[in-house]
Amino acid sequence: MEHIRTPKVENVRLLDRSSGQRKVSTGTLYLSATHTIFVENNPETRKETWVLHSMVSSVERPPSTPVGSQLILRCKDFRVFQILIPQERDCSDVHTSLVRLSRPEKYSELYCLSFNPNVNKEEREESWKFIDLMADYKRMGVPNNLWVSTAANSEYRVCDTYPSELFVPKSATPAITVGSSRFRSRGRFPVLSYFHQDTLAAVCRCSQPLSGFSGRCQEDEMMLQAVMKSNPGSDYIYVVDTRPKLNAMANRAAGKGYENEDHYTNIKLQFIGIENIHVMRSSQQKIIDVGDMRSLSMTDFLWGLESSGWLKHIKAILDAGVFIARAVTDEGVSVLVHCSDGWDRTSQACSVASVLLDPYYRTIKGLMVLIERDWVAFGHKFSHRYAHLDGDPKEVSPVIDQFLECVWQLSEQFPCAFEFNERFLIAIHTHVYSSQYGTFLGNSQKERRDMRLHERSHSLWPQLWLDRAQYTNPLYKAELSQSQGVLRPNTTPYCFKMWKGLYNHMEKSTPPHQSPADFLSAVREESQQLEEELTNHQEVPPGGTAHHHHHPGSRQENSSPDREANHVGEDRGFEEED
């Protein structure tokens, strides 16, 4: 509380810009240790707006106006709040506090370490076991006579950004593993990400080799041989370097680079051309800016969308996934994926490939498992990328945003193939940034262990699972052909759309039942109740005890999506009054 000078300011005016509402509400602003809270004066609604400090990405202070001083709060989930405070001094206090509170300097300041849902110790410990990666490897048939568990990284000895439990080719001896790790950036040697039981081909991941212009490493070459040998159906492997070739070449000057095809036998090198985190950061900023523009014309919008390059990047990532999935299924060839450090683009490419390859990862639980494996366990630097602490802004980049968006783009093409809806993806997105749960804290498994996060915070996944009813896609049907096997998306540019649900919050702020999906969910729920009622009726013997059935369904009044016909907000098609 030391940072809060003025905990309460009255007669504050708030405009939730992202909700599209042009209505300003007046109320009281409170600052707590964790949240900014705004309570509307209107005695009928007393609507509360809560903004977690860790969700605030910037606090701007535009010049004061005659009626007061302004603050603009931009949030990591793309909401924007405009606050008008009557007294200059109050505004200055709130500004100073928020700037400090929104940039915690130590993990101990984070919300997840004070967030205490009403669960006991056992339940919390249980919550961390909800996602079991070993069970998933088992599900895909690993270990087996091709892929085995290695103890090389126990206690994070070889690679401190890898998980301790890893799978490597059976023929890769500890010497090969350790030798290979010395020849790879940050010691991230080739390991298994996904094993495809039908073709016995595998998706493996690592970081770039420390080859420079001519360096080589026998163990690393043997390691790649071992990866190839672990796939009896093929006599070569693909090495997918997800970077643009020029970037990869430039890395050679720094003693890094990519595999020399003369040194490695039986590899086919493929560059994909996903740009680096700096390009992605500024690209996302550009589409946010486009959305921010007032009275946006169609030309501004399309031009802005094009010049942001965002959809081009999304397409590149999806194309990488498609390439890997095709290699594994159509050709039966194993793929080794890397970028520079192997924790950003590699995580994107591997996880998109898994979503395409395996229907399990298109279920609610499956997506959790996938994120836990290819992102959390494999040392994607969540705290750096999503600015959990005040740190180097150059480390920040929307890497997992892009993965979630790829999944969303796929769900638009295959509406019945995903068990979850858009809301689920957005909830994950929010929590990646919010640090309300310990799941995404830190930058590696080792850091999380050292922080004893399992004892001090809660896991997100069980909570999302508990709420799964609201995250379920009513159209999902495991039996449909589009839900089964490999997804083969069309990646022609016109198949990509801007993800309005994430970047424009209007939809979220409007009452539920506005989409066909919600309507269908309501119908399905009603059907379930009817089924139960039918079963009950049928159980009653004629003339038996009377059952007084209350009407469970009979089409609830509010189940029509368009019932609230006047969408709150957005650029409605009439003259604006501001």
Partner: protein, 549 residues
């Protein structure tokens, strides 16, 4: 004239047909007066029956003695026919070219078409102005049905019956007609039951450079306002375009002469600008080699989405004036037959739930497009692939349908029909066995005696099996005004038309079926439960012991 003269080669064997998402078929190609037919002579293989009038352009290609004809259709489909033999190929190409560009309306297929279905309701009589007027009469007595145009002499593009203010007599109307472009004096387009406000439409006033005025026109327009109320004149042209129109005898209402009215200018494009836009858009959609940057820049350069946004914005403005401001509205552009109709018809979709039903929408198309004199035959003579210089062609109606699709997508449960109905109307507006969209006005259609000689599209649509196909399973009548978002992020490319032949819709079709299944299953359960509840209630009344728990 005999079609036979135009058909140089009536049939060719061994022709191979390529079309999107279907296996190639080899068969015999036949040309008839109105169709290009490919028959494989095998059972179960689909044949191609293509109306010549659906053909927008054809291209010939030769590799050795094998010729190919690329047929580009007005519904935007592109098919290829490989024809063995140079001469046959040339003959077929030139015959098709001749048959697809026949000038005479009376040679069009609707005059030869005999329905193979039972006509339950003759569509030619489904939407008579006198019937529509009965609904109006039940709401207000301020309007009357005038027969001033019964012989089409006052306004050649108006129907014989129009709704006008009760206090304005036919002589006044005749005078007003001389002051309005094309004789299109202001008529009633829509009456907003909720507050009694109205929407009227007209042609531009012929003020010319010296500011001519017409007392009768001023009187007519003013009499539609209630005491102390103001109105809005929505001119669909920018102020500078409207200024320029003065030089050619046109113009706009000077506010000094219409003091109770405020004029608002909007910018809806016309004619060749729209046609160009369509051509560019379809070109962009058909080129799969584009990278993302190129695709987005081509989409932008086509300006199609900009037109959609402009039209919808103007329609929302009209609706807002009526519903929110409680003001009456007069809409016009230049002729009052294109952008004007886009605005008045879309405003009605926003305001009036009745227009969102299948029948209501037909009525709207009938009233606000066909009887209102949108020159369909001129506008839809060519589509996106036409090589010839556009004359009067413009995708005005297609843009309207696109705007309806945008609203439908934003309010997926408020329309009784699905996207298929809009696609169907697009197809039939450009090429059809039905005569509904033939001719340019009610006068032309009367002259052609369509009612006696041809079949109406509505006769076909309004049969149970067709209606079922077009019905939206999500529909729940919504009596409210629906305000669409016109933010650029909310307006999407209409894939169902523009990407229809470029990408498979299989997965989306599956999803649609699944949706229908969920709803059907729910209905089935409700029926079962209701019948059980009735039985139970019956038992309870039969057995008094059961009544007290």
């Amino acid at each position: 004239m005999e079609f036979a003269e135009l058909i140089k080669t009536p049939r060719v064997d061994g022709v191979v047909l390529h079309r999107p998402f279907m296996p190639t078929v080899e068969g015999t190609l036949c040309l008839t007066g109105h169709h290009l037919i490919l028959s494989s002579r095998q059972d179960n293989t689909e044949e191609l029956w293509l109306l010549h009038s659906n053909i927008d352009s054809i291209e010939k290609r030769f590799v050795g003695s094998l010729g190919s004809i690329i047929v580009k259709c007005k519904d935007l489909r592109v098919i290829q026919l490989d024809i063995p033999g140079m001469e046959e190929c040339l003959n077929i190409a030139s015959s098709v070219e001749a048959l697809s560009t026949l000038d005479s309306v009376s040679l069009m297929y609707p005059f030869f078409y005999r329905p193979m279905f039972e006509v339950i309701e003759d569509g030619w009589h489904s939407f008579l102005p006198e019937d529509t007027f009965k609904d109006l009469e039940s709401m207000t007595d301020e309007w009357r049905l005038s027969e001033v145009n019964k012989d089409f002499s006052v306004c050649p593009s108006y129907p014989p019956l129009v709704a006008v203010p009760k206090d304005i007599d036919d002589n006044t109307l005749r005078k007003v007609a001389t002051f309005r472009h094309g004789g299109r004096f202001p008529v009633l387009s829509y009456y907003h039951k909720k507050n009694g406000m109205v929407m009227m439409r007209a042609g531009q006033p012929l003020t010319g450079t010296n500011g001519r005025r017409c007392k009768e026109d001023e009187k007519l327009i003013n009499v539609t306002l209630r005491l102390g109320k103001r109105g809005y004149i929505i001119d669909t042209r920018t102020i500078s375009v409207a200024q320029h129109a003065k030089a050619r005898g046109g113009g706009f209402e000077t506010e000094a002469n219409y003091p109770q009215w405020r004029r608002i200018h909007k910018a809806i494009e016309r004619f060749n600008v729209l046609q160009e836009s369509l051509i560019k858009l379809v070109e962009a959609c058909n080129d799969q080699s584009h990278n993302m940057d190129r695709w987005l820049s081509k989409l932008e350069a086509s300006s199609w989405q900009t037109h959609v946004k402009e039209i919808l914005t103007t329609a929302c403005l009209a609706a807002q004036c009526i519903d929110r401001e409680g003001a009456s509205v007069l809409v016009h552009g230049t002729e009052g037959t294109d952008s004007t109709l886009q605005v008045t018809s879309l405003a009605q979709i926003i305001l009036d739930p009745a227009c969102r039903t299948i029948r209501g929408f037909q009525g709207l198309v009938e009233r606000e497009w066909l009887q209102a004199g949108h020159p369909f035959q001129q506008r839809c003579a060519q589509s996106a692939y036409s090589n010839s210089k556009p004359r009067q062609e413009a995708p005005v109606f297609l843009l309207f349908l696109d705007c309806v699709w945008q609203i439908l997508r934003q309010f997926p449960c408020s329309f009784e029909f699905t996207e298929s109905f809009l696609v169907l109307l697009f197809e039939h507006a450009y090429a059809s066995q039905f005569a509904t969209f033939l001719g340019n006005s009610a006068a032309e259609r009367a002259k052609l005696s369509l009612t006696e000689k041809t079949v109406s599209l509505w006769s076909w649509v309004n049969r149970p099996q067709e209606l079922e196909r077009l019905t939206n399973p999500l529909y729940e009548p919504n009596s409210l005004v629906i305000w669409p978002s016109v933010a650029p992020q909310s307006l999407l490319l209409w894939e169902g038309v523009f990407l229809r032949w470029n990408r498979s819709s299989k997965w989306l079709d599956d999803a649609y079926e699944e949706m229908v299944h969920i709803i059907e299953y729910n209905k089935e359960l409700q029926n079962k439960v209701n019948s059980l509840r009735r039985q139970l209630a019956q038992l309870e009344t039969d057995d008094p012991l059961l009544q007290t728990p």
